[in-house]
């Protein structure tokens, strides 16, 4: 004899015709004699029928054009697989690590570059030296020789206030070398 509990628990299979023939007949028999289960069956079937009868919605008219637009952009954009993204991330991480290592090694031991620069020569006529500087500092033992080398003779170019002072030296055959600090040696690139 079937009880209501079993009927309710397996009612889904009964309603969907998923029970074996023997079981189905037992359910039929119970339903015939049980007012409460008949009520349950009636309410459920009517409710389901009402729910299924709800108006179905339709996609808006621009649904397919919008979809095609999206698919077009998928076709056009470069394919980005997760493998590609992982590869890119790994490459970026590797490059960052390399740069970081380089930075650390620079901090602990500066990278020194040997640079050889040619000596700078400034040529001026010998008589100009005697004319301009010879009288004032020539006998001063604390003034180095190279300081006595004057600027080039003023060019009367009408160049304004400082025009003559910064005139370009004129190279001659009997010029004297102008000693300057030789800027060769080690340069600290990290600075």
């Amino acid at each position: 004899m079937m009880v209501c509990k079993e009927f309710i628990e397996r009612h889904t299979e009964y309603l969907d015709g998923a029970l074996a023939a023997g079981d189905h007949r037992r359910f039929d028999a119970h339903l015939e004699g049980c007012k409460s289960c008949r009520r349950y069956q009636r309410v459920l079937t009517r409710g389901l029928a009402a729910w299924r009868a709800l108006p179905r919605v339709s996609a808006s008219p621009d649904f397919l054009p919008r979809l095609q637009h999206r698919l077009y952009h998928i076709d056009e954009s470069p394919k980005r697989s997760w493998r590609g993204q992982v590869g890119r991330a790994a490459a970026i991480a590797l490059a960052s690590a390399g740069l970081f290592t380089l930075g650390v090694s620079n901090g602990s031991q500066p990278l020194l570059v040997e640079v050889q620069l040619p000596p700078v020569l400034a040529d001026v006529p010998a008589e100009t030296v005697a004319e301009s500087q010879g009288t004032r500092f020539a006998d001063d033992p604390y003034v180095p020789d190279w300081f006595l080398v004057p600027f080039a003779p003023a060019l009367d170019d009408g160049g304004g206030l400082f025009g003559s002072t910064y005139a370009v030296p004129i190279a001659t055959s009997d010029s004297i070398p102008l000693p300057v600090e030789r800027r060769s040696g080690q340069l600290d690139e990290s600075r």
């Binding site: 969907d16 389901l48 979809l67």
Partner: protein, 218 residues
């Protein structure tokens, strides 16, 4: 001597240019799996046919599950985009409708979970669709009395609200069975749960549904 059938040839997809191009009318007569084969064989229009075939079915399924029509349409779009991207991975041995419903079902479940995390979205009520502006135009049957019409409308509202009250995992199973007419096996495959769980969830969903609507229908 008995020769073995060449399974490799029958199980692979056609390469582009291998299949005869078909017109729209001919595409409409094809089965889903054949459409997939033709699409992967280079016939772009075959995907349009798939989209036309499933757009309303998926829209109703997702709409009944999440209760928001506009959002449902967005999710149907997303379903097709995912299908488009992964169609080459579709196993022809499986049923295409089950595969596409699995994708749609997962999107609907994610939507419901996101809403649960963000309660503000819950203001989207199912009843919104029954406001006068949203209700489809209906021609009244003069054989009905006004109170019958009112009662009918109330029943519709009640059953819709009853389904909305079901827990998410029960509702998906309920909609797949009652609206889409899917078999237990298909529902099991779509939702990724066992056959026994499908039966159990469906039974609980129906029980709950009956309890909610019984005052209206009894």
């Amino acid at each position: 001597m008995e020769t073995k059938p060449n399974l490799e040839v029958t199980s692979r997809y056609a390469t582009p240019g291998e299949l005869e191009p078909l017109g729209r009318g001919e595409l409409k007569r094809l089965e889903d799996a054949e459409l997939v084969t033709h699409y992967l064989g280079g016939q772009r229009f075959a995907f349009n046919e798939i989209a036309e075939r499933y757009q309303d079915r998926l829209l109703n399924f997702i709409y009944r599950t999440i209760g928001d029509r506009d959002r449902a349409e967005d999710l149907v779009q997303e379903t097709f985009v995912r299908v488009y991207r992964h169609l080459h991975r579709f196993d022809p041995a499986r049923k295409f409708s089950t595969w596409i419903y699995t994708i749609a079902s997962n999107l609907a479940k994610n939507e419901l979970r996101n809403r649960a995390r963000n309660p503000l979205v819950l203001f989207h009520s199912l009843r919104k669709s029954w406001e006068a502006d949203h209700r489809p135009l209906e021609f009244e049957d003069t054989a009905y009395r006004p109170d019958d019409l009112f009662r009918k409308r109330r029943v519709r509202e009640q059953v819709e609200a009853a389904v909305a009250e079901l827990p998410e995992h029960h509702r998906v199973v309920f909609v797949l069975r009652e609206l889409e007419g899917k078999s237990y096996e298909e529902i099991s495959e779509i939702t990724g749960v066992t056959l026994g769980t499908v039966k159990s969830r469906l039974n609980r969903a129906r029980n709950r549904f009956a309890c909610i609507i019984s005052p209206m229908l009894d």
